[in-house]
């Protein structure tokens, strides 16, 4: 049976690479467990930790083919359209993809049903490099995607969503999580390669019977340590990045066999390792080597093609943030208007041959082989290159918005954009929008001046009003002061009157008390008299009380009673009945 070269260089592992995919058993088991507990799963980690391989090879191989229909979706130029296309293509001709004017996916649920029914396999929508939605996508696109995911999660057919994202962009998922709360319930962080994992990789390759690469068995541990230390370099870290390991293993193989076609069998020993020595940044070195080679090779047929030119052509493959950005040859030409188109084509083809860039046929796009390369390319940019990219980003993001929502560039932005306009080729729509923005700025300036003049007039009017009001207020204050003084003296008078009234009140109270006492005494005496009269005869007394005519006949009234009646009449002049009758009695009564 033919031997296989087990290293994938910068490519990700696919389902068919199962036999030589090592070092991720724990992660695979965790993912496999989680996938049965959720409809949406998140995988994150730094660039180059092997997230794509983990899904496309590790997780995929846990399922039989009748239980796994993986539909990878990359953003391309728009994530919604890409998803739509993937679904249409997988629907077994039930739906044919056409570019839609609407930005949402028509009949999304029905399309998913059609995909499922085409194969009767549970569908796994794998959104790889998901950070591209936030790096390259618009806000509207992000919102539409969230709505699409919400709809997908309600589909009854077995369909699941797997998102793979660089962990630097986790914060961008905040709005997404608000609308899809289960987004972060099940997630897995993929870490870089520890020494233990590197050991698993090399042991696995050694045990793989069909591998055309072997490590000397008795030297496996020192070789592993040596590889780990060289890639780690001087950094104080317990991890190395997977793409560095892959590139280095490829380098080791080449050092052993000098066979670029990867057919020869290789036995890697510590001696080979020692020959390589320190490697610095293996990925950067690889890139620089390739750039030099390409520059040299192309200079044979063309005018001097410098390494700077090659780096310049590489730059558009990397976004401002240092992530890979798929581009077509046409887009490349637009971004580098000064470059010869033929040269551009040759350089891009050279990139593909040297494994720096991969070509995706169905999308006609070229893309860096790995994110890790993007960081190195980004590091090579000059300040001017970065400024040009920022300007491009600014223009694209504004023009991508629908007419109703689009905003003009501010004056400050225009000042930033102007110097770089000739360095790349904005399309007609972008040029028009810049021109309209300039007009808008002029218009706004004119408006501003008019506004300022009006403001000045208004201000003067206001001032006049204020002064008038102030004067009136002052006069009012003076008048108020005068009346205040007046009222103060009145208050004094009132106070004195009140005090007098208080004194009079006290006197009256005293007089009342005296009168009350006198009354009480009279009443007491009346009571005594009454008692005495009662001794005479209650009946007589009652008769006396009722009388209205004087008594004309006292007949038989004892003297002492008459004397007492006298005394009562003397002391109680108000005792009318007694007085009246006593007088009558005295007049008529014989002495």
């Amino acid at each position: 049976m033919q031997k296989i070269y087990p290293f994938k260089f910068l490519d990700s592992y696919q389902r068919e690479d199962k036999d030589f995919f090592f070092g991720r058993n724990e992660e695979i088991e965790s993912l496999y467990q989680m996938i049965f507990q959720t409809k949406i799963l998140l995988i994150y980690g730094t660039s180059g930790t092997g997230k794509t391989s983990l899904i496309q090879c590790g997780l995929a191989n846990k399922f039989h083919t009748y239980d796994w229909l993986a539909l990878p979706v990359r953003r391309g130029s728009n994530l919604i359209s890409s998803l739509d296309k993937v679904l249409c293509d997988a629907s077994d001709d039930v739906f044919i993809y056409t570019e839609q004017k609407e930005s949402f996916i028509k009949d999304l649920t029905v399309k998913i049903e059609a995909v499922y029914k085409a194969s009767f396999k549970p569908v796994y929508l794998i959104f790889d490099q998901f950070e591209e939605l936030y790096v390259l996508g618009t806000k509207a696109e992000q919102e539409l995607f969230v709505e699409a995911v919400k709809e997908i999660l309600l589909v009854e057919e077995p369909v699941k969503v797997i998102l793979s994202i660089r962990e630097e962009y986790l914060g961008n998922l905040f709005e997404f999580e608000k609308k899809v709360p289960q987004l972060l319930r099940k997630k897995l962080r993929v870490e870089a390669m520890s020494l233990d994992k590197v050991t698993q990789v090399l042991k696995g390759i050694n045990n793989f019977k069909l591998s055309n690469v072997r490590f000397r068995t008795d030297e496996l541990d020192p070789i592993t340590q040596g590889i780990f230390d060289r890639i780690k370099g001087k950094k104080k870290t317990l991890f190395i990045e997977l793409p560095y390991l892959q590139v280095f293993l490829d380098k080791l193989y080449f050092e052993t066999t000098k066979d670029a076609s990867h057919q020869a069998e290789a036995l890697i020993t510590t001696e080979v390792l020692n020959r390589i020595g320190d490697i610095g940044d293996v990925l950067r070195n690889f890139l620089e080597e390739q750039v030099k080679c390409i520059s040299r090779d192309l200079s044979i047929n063309n005018k001097n093609v410098s390494t700077e030119t090659i780096w310049k052509i590489l730059s558009p493959f990397c976004s401002l943030e240092g992530t890979k950005e798929p581009v077509s040859k046409q887009e490349l030409a637009n971004r580098l208007p000064d470059m010869d188109k033929r040269l551009l084509d040759e350089v891009v083809d050279a990139f593909v041959n040297s494994r720096i860039v991969n070509y995706t046929e169905n999308e006609n796009l070229y893309e860096l082989a790995h994110d890790a390369l993007a960081l190195n390319i980004a590091a090579k940019r000059s300040d001017e290159d970065i400024a040009i990219l920022e300007v491009q980003r600014l223009i694209e993001s504004q023009v991508a918005v629908q007419d109703e929502g689009r905003e003009f560039f501010t004056e400050r932005q225009l000042l930033f954009i102007e110097p770089y306009l000739e360095k790349f080729k904005p399309n007609d729509e972008e040029r028009n929008w810049i021109a309209e923005s300039r007009a808008n700025v002029q218009y706004k300036k004119g408006l501003e001046k008019r506004k300022q003049r009006e403001e000045l007039v208004k201000t003067r009017k206001r001032l006049r009003t204020v002064y008038s009001l102030l004067s009136a207020a002052l006069i009012a204050l003076l008048i108020a002061g005068y009346f205040w003084l007046e009222s103060n003296s009145e208050k004094e008078k009132a106070k004195k009157a009140e005090q007098l009234a208080m004194i009079q009140k006290d006197s009256a109270v005293l007089a009342k008390e005296v009168a009350d006492k006198a009354l009480k005494k009279v009443n007491e005496q009346i009571a005594i008299i009454s008692k005495q009269i009662a001794i005479i005869s209650k009946k007589d007394f009652d008769n006396l009380k009722k009388r209205t005519e004087p008594i004309t006949d006292a007949g038989g009234c004892p003297n002492e009673i008459l004397e007492q009646m006298d005394s009562i009449a003397a002391t109680h002049p108000d005792s009318l009945i007694m007085k009246y009758d006593i007088q009558s009695i005295r007049e008529k009564c014989p002495q």
Binding site: E29, Y32, Q37, T38, H64, D67, Q182
Partner: protein, 465 residues
Amino acid sequence: MSNSKPEGSENILIKEVSADTITLIVSGVEHKINYQLPELKALMKSQNVTNITYENKVYNIGHINEANFGVVISNKVFNSVLTRELILLLKDNKRPGSFLNSLPPGDKDDWESKRQSLKEAQGILEDSFVWVIGWELRRLFSIGNDRQKKMETKIDEYINHCFSTYRISLQLINYLFISQLWDEKIKNKNIDTDKVPIRNFFSSNRALKLAELRRLLQALLEIFRNNQLSYPINENDLGDINEFIRPESKFNRACAELERLEALGSGNETYGLGHCHTAEISLTAILAGFKFFTIYQLVTLKKIEYEEARHHAARYIKDLSILETKKIKNLLRYLKYDNTPAETYSVFFRNKNKSVNLFPFVLDYNALMNELDFQIFFYECSESESGLRYFSIQSENDEIISYTATPPTESMEVTSEEQKNEVQRNIRLDLVIRQFEDAMNTILGTTFCFKPKASELYADNLSNL
């Protein structure tokens, strides 16, 4: 189907092939025989002929064996017989009926050979059966429809899934009867249930073979019939139980055929298309016998919460999931509020009239783990004296639930959420074991007790999901 090649006496001409019969022209005379290679060979021997013509191709009978018999004489695609026969079986149901009525007149006899019609019918069948059967049918359809799969892999996967669909059907009906029998035995201890197949069911330390599962079903049916017990399935839906008991019934002949094929594979024989065809036909007959699986559904009770406020009646909030899709109502998960308690982690097999709780023989593992979505486990066998082995329908892996004997206490201090979750998980898994133990002891009259796995007390052993 007819062949345009002129008749001859040097070879036999196959005129037509159906699911059960082959029509041949022999010396100008039409013969009909059963769709069986031995019969064909016998006929050819009697005519002293070695060649047979079909669809303009001439075959030497000496080169035909059971493995390639199907591909030689049948141009039918995978699942065409299964799909057609099951749709016709269910033609009185709304969706299958509507599908058949909507076929163009020209396609009515042969719609299963048209890809789109076949897939549409398969979609209807998947939704028609109870979830576990529907899921297995889905796999069969997926394997059969896969144009990119290598043929050897396809044959192997297809025939093994015929076996697993049969197995799961038998297991499901057995669990129904065992669950019901458990309840009946509690009411009446005198029911004689100590039968060998039932004892094997509970105490075997390997998965029962297909034939053993069938014998178990027959034993259970006899117990129910002899003791006039109430069936877990409506008797009208179950049909004539003699069909499941009589050895010569169509159902049992189909079962025997599948079991024979399974035994061939164990003897390292390589399967061929002919074997697949036989397996498909046998499975069709079996599923026809289990037609009642189309009028029940599986519902898992994931969680019950309890609420009571002062001066207000208490109520239970039940979190239920229906596993089958409901095109019309779109009701997959719902909360039910009432004032009656229920058995937690139940997996109900139910319809409007009947409801049987299959726990602990069928589990929703995600409910036990307090996870979303569902994972259905089928009991397989005992795992020594400290656990039970289950089969995951979704992952097709065996999983072991070990007994940890987490002590039941009135209260327990909790220092972290993780600790609480782990203890709760172990308690729930222990519940599975203890319920199984209870069922076994009730039905068999034993006093068996599971023992905790000493080396991993309080630990969850499910690490290979």
